[in-house]
Structure formats: C-alpha cells, structure tokens
C-alpha cells in the first residue's frame, strides 16, 4: 500500500477496472512492472494493464468525443497502439500518463476527422445520457436532482464551447481527476501551464454558467 499508484486506485475505487479480479487477493504489480513484463512477451501482463486502465481511458475518450461508439473504438485503438509502442516507452513518465497521451492524441485525430466529415455534433452524447442515471442518491429531493441535472448539462455545453486545449486540460483535471503534474505529463507542458489553463477554463465556464442563470446563490454547501 505504500506504492502511490496502488494507493491511488484504492482511494478511487470507482475508476478501477481491475479491482474485482486482482484485489485484494493477489499482490499487485505496478504499471512499470507490467510494462516490463509485457515487453518481455508476457501477454497477461499487458492484459492486466488493459483491465486496469480501460475504464479510465474510456471515460476520458467519452468526455472528449461525446460519442460512445467512437469512444470505445478509440479506447481499443489506444491499447493496441500502446502495445505496438511498448519498446519506445522510455520510462521517464508513468505508463498510465503515457497511455493517456496516446488516447488524447487518438481522440483529437478523431475529432479532426469528424470535423472534416460532419458539420453537426453527434446526437448521442454519453455524458448527457449518463446524467439521466441517478448515481449519487439525489433522487430523495427531486427538485435538487433536477437542478443538478441542469447544472451538469450546462457545464457540458460550456465545455463544448471551449478550445480543444482548455477542454482537454479541464477534462483531465476537473472531471478525470488527474493532478496538475499528471496532466502536465500527459499534455507535455509545465504544471503552471496546466494550472493556468484550468483556471482559464473555469473562468470561462463560470461566465457561461452565470449567463445561463446558474448563479453562485444556487450552490449547495
């Protein structure tokens, strides 16, 4: 448990895809150990890596792409490309940030190709669909649940209006829960830049939400 990576997964159980299979009955190998093993031809090791990160990568690509089918394809492609590039993993960063970077790049490629082929946004937005599912027991107060739903939808709309840079950074930090250092490793920029981008994105989102009638007085303690 002293390993920060393992501790991280224990503290954020809903983001862990491998928990039911590997915890708490077997010792966990770190991502680096799995990568090393996969490099030496251990297919199960890479499978463990996929199971460990597939859900997080899927959430990331879903938020970036807003299309479940494209998100699943890109997630799959991310692991396949990562496996093909294992020999080029230099170990300077954490394996999961390295995989995240591949996922972000593939998502951006998909967005660019989508812009070239489509003019309108995809009709089936996974985040809006997810909002329709009550996940944290707010149904006890229907009015509150409705307000939460409207606020979340407004935030997602606001995210759509941001630039790719700000949107990706805020999704990584604000929604996916990466630290500034981790987001910086994924995006390839200094931590200060990540902080600035997050601040800028939140400033614009705050303006947007305020313009949509979601004032500060609607906050709950």
């Amino acid at each position: 448990l002293s390993n920060p990576v393992v501790l991280n997964y224990l503290l954020v159980p809903h983001q862990i895809g491998f928990r039911s299979r590997e915890l708490p009955y077997m010792p966990q190998r770190t991502d680096r150990e799995l990568v090393e093993a996969a490099r030496e031809g251990d297919a199960d090791a890479f499978g463990s890596l996929v199971r460990r990160h597939q859900k997080r990568i899927f959430r990331l690509t879903s938020h970036l792409l807003r299309n479940p089918a494209e998100a699943e394809d890109v997630t799959q492609e991310t692991f396949v490309r990562a496996y093909g590039a294992l020999a080029r993993f230099d170990g300077r960063s954490e394996p999961f940030t390295w995989i995240y970077r591949i996922a972000v790049n593939l998502s951006l490629n998909t967005l660019r190709s989508r812009k070239n082929t489509r003019s309108s946004s995809p009709p089936d937005d996974p985040r809006i669909e997810g909002l329709l599912v009550d996940t944290h027991g707010s149904t006890a107060n229907p009015a509150e649940a409705t307000a939460d739903r409207e606020l979340a939808i407004a935030l997602l709309d606001g995210l759509n209006g941001l630039s790719d840079t700000l949107r990706t950074t805020l999704i990584l930090v604000g929604i996916d829960g990466l630290s500034h250092a981790e987001a910086a490793a994924v995006l390839g920029c200094p931590e200060g830049t990540v902080a600035w981008r997050v601040h800028e994105a939140r400033r614009k989102l705050r303006q947007y939400l305020t313009s949509r009638g979601h004032g500060e007085e609607q906050q709950k303690p």
Binding site: E72, R127, T135, L155, L209
Partner: protein, 380 residues
C-alpha cells in the same frame, strides 16, 4: 487531486463534481479485452505523432502565465523610459554624425583661412617688381630658390601683422557690445530645430574668418545638411553639447516646434570682457575651447543647455493649459543662479518643479558676471 483548483468558482467545481460522478454506459469489458487481445498480434506500430505531446505550452501562454496580461503589465512609465532611451540612442548617433561633419567643415574653413592669409601676406610682403612674377609658377620657383628663407620670414611677419589688422578691423559684435552694457535686447524666436540651426550661421562665418577662432567655429546647418541631411534635425549647438563628454545628453531635448526661447542679449561688461586696450577675448570655441573663456555663452550653447532640461520642465506643467515663462540667470561658472517663474505656474507647486528642472541647465563658464535667458515653458 482536485484540491489544487482553488480559488475557482464553487459553482464550476460543483458542476465538475456532478460530471465526475456520472456513470456512463459502458461496453462489455470482457468482450472489449478479448478484442484488444486479438488485435495485439497485429498491432501496428504507433507513429511519432501519437506519442508527441498533444498540447505543449504555447509561447503566448508562457508570456501570459509568467507576466500576466502582457499589455496590462507595461506601465506608462516603462513606455516613456523605453521611448526616451530609444530617442537618446538615435540622437547620439545623429550627434556623432553631425560632429564628424562639423569637424570636416572646420578643417576646410581653417585651410581656407590659412590660404587666404598667406595669399594676402604674400601680396603685402612682395610688392616689388621681383615679387610680381611670383604669380606665375616659374617666377615663384625662382624667388623661392634664391631668397626662400628670408622671404618666408618676411611673409610670416607680414602675415602676423595682417592677422592683427584683420582681427581688429572685423571685431565680432560681442566684443563691441561689451563696451555698451545696456544694449537693447534682441529676442530670437526659435520655432523648430531646423531654425535652431540657422541662428549660428552668421556667427560661424564671423568666427571662421577670425584667425584665432578658426579652430572651432559655430557650425553651419547647411554644411551639415550637405554632408548628412537627416542630421539637420539637430541643432549645431546640440551637436556641440553632444561632443562634450560632460554633457552628452544636451541634445536630447532640443526645443520642439511649439517652444519659444528668447535670448536676452543684454549683459554687463565683466572683468574678463575684452577692451580696446587688451587682447580681445575670442568667441567661445564650442567643440574645443582653445584658451580662456568667452564673454558669455553662445546662442546655440544657451539654447542647447535650456533645451536639455526643457522637457523635464514641461513635464512639471502636465495637466495645465497655460504656458509659463521662466527667466534663467546663469552665473559665470555656467550654472543657473536663479530662476524666476511667471505665468500660469507662478505661485503653484509646479513652479518649484520647473525651477528645479531648469536649474539643471549648464553652459560653459563665461567671463561676464551673469547671463539671463528667457524661456517659455509649455505644458506637455
């Protein structure tokens, strides 16, 4: 992890937490893993683009992040300092060019005067029939061959005599004026830097014709323009000040078009003033003072001295609408003894500021006990 987000809006943070709590409709992960495993055998190599940083720091981001908003961080004082530094740099280059032009012009004048003097001396020293053929080249050769040394001595003696004669015959106005201490003042209005260059012209001509002052006459703006036309924007006096290492910034604040500098020509006769009996004091050599000191500062030097500090004085009147007049009294050491302010700034705190600024003006030491100068100071 998200504890680093303060102090952003709680509203946005709450919206983010709602979005973070969303449970997305997920695929069948077992089937997903199987598909991935099947594809691993034929996994294509990842290109460089996929491993490259997707959003590296942009230059604009770096500037904004390190210095805040770039446009807002530049204060007016910074802009003013940068402008002054740039102008001083340009003017220093112009002054250097102008100085070279002046030096070249002075050399030419010295040569012309020397040639004229020797010609006059030769004519005065050799009126005899033997000397007449000296006008032609063969005869002159004969004369020099036979009586060269003696003739040289005679020419030198006559030349000296002719010099003294010429000098006393063409005594400069300032030496004559000394005998009339209460001379009526002659205002000189300067409306532009180009006109500053016009004023010293007669003085330059007079000085050039004086034997002892031929080393450094006041420059001619036309001559400067002929060599380096862009350099005419600066007054010759400014150039002279620029050459002087003690006052390298004298040319920085040449009076602008709207400024009016009135010179008070009246001055009392000082102890060092020339008289008919004594050897007359030469006009001050602005580039290279030869010997002694002048009776009073030259027009160009006075203008340059005031122009150097006029900008600071005008800044004192920022916000005012009416111009003020100042009368500067220079002491014989070249420093400003007193400043009297009249007009809009009189009696206000700005007067002290203007006085302080104008008191920094310096001219070359002069012989007269004092020298006064009127200046119109307009608000910036």
């Amino acid at each position: 992890m998200s504890g680093e987000h303060e102090p952003d809006s709680k509203l946005v943070l709450r919206a983010e937490s709602l979005a973070r709590a969303l449970e997305l409709r997920e695929p069948d992960w077992d089937a997903f893993e199987q598909r991935v495993t099947e594809r691993l055998a034929s996994a294509p190599p990842a290109g460089e683009a996929l491993l490259a940083p997707p959003f590296p720091e942009l230059e604009e981001e770096r500037r904004t992040r390190s210095g805040g908003e770039p446009r807002e961080s530049v204060s007016l004082a910074d802009l003013a300092r940068a402008t002054v530094a740039k102008r001083a740099e340009n003017e220093a280059a112009s002054v250097a060019k102008e100085s070279l032009a002046l030096a070249s012009q002075q050399r030419a004048q010295v040569e012309r005067i020397a040639e004229r003097k020797s010609r006059a001396a030769a004519q005065a020293a050799a009126p005899t029939p033997e000397a007449q053929p000296a006008k032609t080249q063969p005869a002159r050769t004969n004369v020099w061959d036979s009586r060269g040394p003696w003739l040289g001595v005679a020419v030198a003696a006559v030349g000296l005599a002719a010099s003294f004669g010429l000098y006393f015959a063409r005594q400069p106005p300032n030496t004559v004026v000394v005998t009339q201490p209460a001379l009526t003042s002659t205002p000189v209005t300067v409306t532009s830097a180009a006109r500053l260059g016009e004023d010293p012209k007669p003085s330059a001509r007079e000085a050039a014709e004086l034997p002892g002052n031929a080393v450094a006459p006041a420059p001619s703006a036309d001559a400067v323009a002929a060599i380096d036309p862009p350099a005419t924007a600066l007054s010759p006096a400014g150039a002279a000040s620029g050459v002087n290492s003690e006052r390298p910034s004298a040319a920085k604040s040449v009076p602008t078009k709207a400024e009016r500098v009135v010179l008070d020509e009246s001055r009392p006769a000082g102890p060092g003033a020339p008289t008919a009996a004594g050897k007359p004091q030469l006009r001050p050599a602005e580039l290279k003072p030869v010997e002694g000191i002048s009776d009073r500062p030259s027009t160009g030097a006075a203008q340059a001295a005031v122009g150097a500090v006029l900008g600071a004085a005008r800044a004192c009147l920022a916000g005012q609408s009416t111009p003020s007049s100042a009368t500067l009294v220079f002491g014989s050491d070249g420093e400003v003894d007193s400043v009297r302010i009249t007009g809009g700034a009189a009696g206000t705190p700005a007067a002290a500021c203007v006085e302080s600024a104008l008191k920094k003006a310096r001219v070359q030491p002069f012989a007269a006990p004092s020298f006064s100068l009127g200046v119109t100071v307009r608000p910036l």
